[in-house]
Symmetry: C2
Subunit: 224 residues, 2 copies
């Protein structure tokens, strides 16, 4: 039996910046879908595992190096790729968009951030993949503190609040939200303040990852 099934990886990388969620896309250099926008990704090499493949493709196509990356789903429908039978393992990543400069080289003409509310037409079944990734993002943010991956190391509380209102697409009561986050004791209040434009200056906070992992080990679950 000759094996004609090919394996790719694709990455849905989300970024967040002051009220906007964006996703990283690349403009394709070659057929199929030449000049179309697509998720970064490509064929898995024989001597690398899946996560290495995603990181390599991301780095080659966009210059991005992603800290938070998890497997999303594997897409294997017949006819999803005009090049033949291609099964793709999709990954889900989070990053601070200003953490690196976008570049492009192999396979991709250029890489760009797109607001998830203003997306171009996407190649392959990438629209479907992105839809599933957005659902995962919204679901996951309510029970794991992955939101911190999208914020700077130090941030005012209002940034966290705004991130959540944006991601969940609904209003949040600031006092109740703070009460909940505070009760988890995963935030450290720093002896620093920032003043952005007018208004009272805000204390800065940082996320205490060590404390979070300890709580998680003890079986305590974060939930918004």
């Amino acid at each position: 039996m000759k094996n004609k099934i090919k394996l790719t990886v694709d990455a849905v990388v989300f970024g967040y910046d002051s009220g906007n969620i964006s996703v990283l896309l690349v403009k394709r250099k070659y057929e199929p879908f030449k000049d179309g926008w697509a998720l970064p990704g490509g064929f898995v090499l024989e001597n690398e595992d899946l996560e290495q493949a995603v990181q390599r493709e991301l780095s080659e196509e966009t210059g991005a190096r992603i800290n938070y990356l998890e497997q999303l789903y594997t897409f294997g429908d017949l006819g999803r790729d005009p090049r033949g039978r291609v099964v793709s393992v999709a990954y889900f990543g989070l990053v601070k968009p200003n953490a690196f400069k976008l570049t492009a080289s192999t396979d991709a003409k250029k890489a760009e951030w797109f607001d998830i509310k203003k997306l171009p037409k996407l190649a392959f079944d990438h629209k479907k993949i992105l839809k599933i990734a957005i659902e995962r993002l919204q679901g996951k943010i309510t029970y794991e503190p992955i939101g911190f991956e999208l914020l700077d190391k130090k941030f005012p509380f209002s940034d966290l609040e705004k991130l959540y209102t944006t991601l969940l697409d609904r209003e949040i009561d600031r006092r109740n939200f703070k009460k909940k986050i505070t009760s988890l004791k995963v935030l450290d209040e720093l002896d620093e303040k920032v003043s952005i434009g007018r208004g009272r200056p805000a204390s800065l906070f940082s996320f205490n990852k060590k404390r979070y992992f300890q709580l998680k080990k003890e079986g305590i679950i974060f939930e918004i």
Copy 2:
């Protein structure tokens, strides 16, 4: 670039019968791991999608036909299969063990149910796959009513209760549990009773799937 990566599917199928959770395993007919126990599964054919591949392998190797089947995770580490680079998409299934008779033919010497507390040594990385599947089962049962997939169409309430105590591995207060399930209105009480051995006869219930999907569409989430 020649593509040497091969793609398989594996299925973790759970069954439940009066207080015991079991998983479906097959005894391997060929190398590698000849005569060892493994999850049912095998190579994906070029003209079938992933779920078809799982159902085909399950049917060939065990005779099982599974109603509830969802994708679990894709395992692609280097060296997970001595035959070379093999990436496997694992699926997660639930079934009533007495719903079919086990058979075996292609690739598998025989198929058997194993209590998940008395497992044999498993081939490949199947121990790891099974571990992740068990975590998924325990996690999922608390927020989706998949437990009904493991029970008969008509069941006394105590069966449901016992299923949950077994799956979650802890005691449940019968009255509070019933209150919660009842408040969801996804159970229909039938005009039928069963008497099993001594004790007061129990009313039979059935799961109202239609009602559940309606609630789900309305955004109401099941939670134990």
